[in-house]
Symmetry: C2
Subunit: 224 residues, 2 copies
C-alpha cells in the first residue's frame, strides 16, 4: 500500500523495528527473561537504548502495531496504538491486524492505568477510568489520516495528578499541551517496564505468550 | 463471573443465542448460503424471526459478543458491540475475547457505513466518517458498567440524513433521542443483511470465515 510521504506515524514505524515487550524486563529481577534469548545482546547499554526515541516515546513495537505517547496529550499517559502499515481508516484494516489491535487494547489499558493510578495506597482497578477512542474522517475529528486508537486516562479532577484543567473532563475536547520530552521519556520507560511485567502476567494467568510473532518481525526488519 | 442482576446488556445476552451472520443472506440470491446447513430450518418464517428482538435490535450475536442498535442513538446507525459475558471495563477482558472485539470492529464499521452512507450516487468509502468509542468508569462517561464499544456514524451536517442537530458534531456530547421501534427494526434488518454480505466478502477477499466458532456457541447455549 502506498504511504503518503509526510505521514508522521509512518515515519515512526520506519524507524522502530519490532521488539518483544519483555525486552524491558529488569535483567536480574525476573528469571523468565532468560527464556528470551532474542533480547538484544547486553553490553553496557540498557535495553531502552535499543529504541530510537528521536521520533516517538515508544511503548510497544510489534510486527503489526506500535504504541507511543501522544505528543499533545489530553491527560498524562495519553497513548496511541497505531498500525505499522498505513491504513487511513479502521474500515481499511483486515482481520489479522484488527485482531491484534483488539488483543493489545485491554493489555495497554491495564499498563497505563496501573502506571498512572495504581501506585498509591488503596489503589484499586475499580478506581481506573479511561476512554478508548478511534476517529475516522474529518467529521469524526480524525487529525492524522492513519488508523490510531487513543487510550486516554481520566484522573480524578483536581487529584494533583497533573491535570487541573476543567476541560479535561469534557470528552475528547480537553485542552492539549505539548508533551515535555524528558517527562515523556521517563513515563514511556515506566510504561515499557510495566508492559513487560504485564506480558509475563498474561502468560502466567491466560497461558498466552504475547511475545509470540516477533520472530516474523525480525525477518521483516530488512524490508523497513 | 457474577452478573449484576439488572444489567441491561446481560439481559440482551441471555435472550440472544449465537447465530451465524450469514443466516441473514437472502435465501435464494446467494448459493454460498447452502454451505451453512446450520441455518435454522426454514419453514414459513424468515431468518429474522429467529432473533428475539423484544430486548434489542440485534445485528450480530456470536458466542462471545453481541452488536445491536443503541436505544438512545447520537446519530442514526449508532451501534454497540458488547461482550456476552459481564465485564465491567475493558481491562477485565482476556486475550481471546478482546481479539474477537478487534476482529469485528472494522467489519461492523464497514457494514454501518455502507448501510448509512453507501447507497447514493458517487458513494465512496472516502466519504465515510465515524467514531469508535469505549468508555471505562464514570469519569470517562461510562453509563452502563458492562464493556461496550460505540460505533457512531458522523453524517454530513444538514445532509438530510436524519441528523439536523448542531450538537451531533460535538464529540460524544450530541443530543440523544430515543430510537423509534419500527425504524430501529427496519435499520437492524438492513444492517444484518449487509453484515451477511460482508462476511461472504471477507471470506472471498481475506480467506477468513467469520462464521467459524458458532458451533461452539450452539453447544454453549444450554448454559445460558
Amino acid at each position: 500500500m502506498d504511504t503518503p510521504s509526510p505521514c508522521p506515524f509512518c515515519t515512526i514505524a520506519h524507524t522502530s523495528p519490532p521488539l518483544p515487550p519483555t525486552t524491558f524486563l529488569p535483567q536480574n529481577s525476573d528469571p523468565k527473561n532468560a527464556s528470551h534469548p532474542a533480547t538484544p545482546a547486553t553490553t553496557t547499554t540498557s535495553p531502552h537504548s535499543a529504541l530510537d526515541t528521536r521520533t516517538a516515546h515508544l511503548i510497544l513495537s510489534t510486527p503489526s502495531l506500535l504504541a507511543f505517547l501522544d505528543i499533545m496529550p489530553l491527560t498524562r499517559g495519553h497513548l496511541l496504538l497505531v498500525t505499522r502499515e498505513h491504513y487511513e481508516k479502521l474500515g481499511d484494516v483486515g482481520v489479522g491486524v484488527s485482531r491484534e489491535i483488539g488483543q493489545w487494547l485491554p493489555v495497554l489499558s491495564r499498563v497505563v492505568m496501573r502506571t498512572l493510578f495504581g501506585k498509591g495506597a488503596g489503589a484499586d482497578a475499580a478506581d481506573w477510568h479511561w476512554n478508548v477512542v478511534q476517529n475516522n474522517g474529518v467529521r469524526a475529528a480524525q487529525q492524522v489520516p492513519h488508523v490510531h486508537f487513543h487510550v486516554i486516562p481520566r484522573p480524578e479532577y483536581s487529584s494533583g495528578s497533573g491535570v487541573g484543567r476543567p476541560s479535561f473532563v469534557m470528552f475528547g475536547r480537553g485542552q492539549r499541551e505539548e508533551l515535555d520530552e524528558e517527562e515523556g521519556e521517563a513515563l514511556a520507560r515506566a510504561l515499557r517496564g510495566e508492559l513487560a511485567r504485564e506480558v509475563v502476567h498474561v502468560r502466567e494467568v491466560e497461558g498466552v505468550d504475547l511475545d509470540v510473532g516477533f520472530g516474523v518481525g525480525r525477518e521483516r526488519r530488512g524490508k523497513l
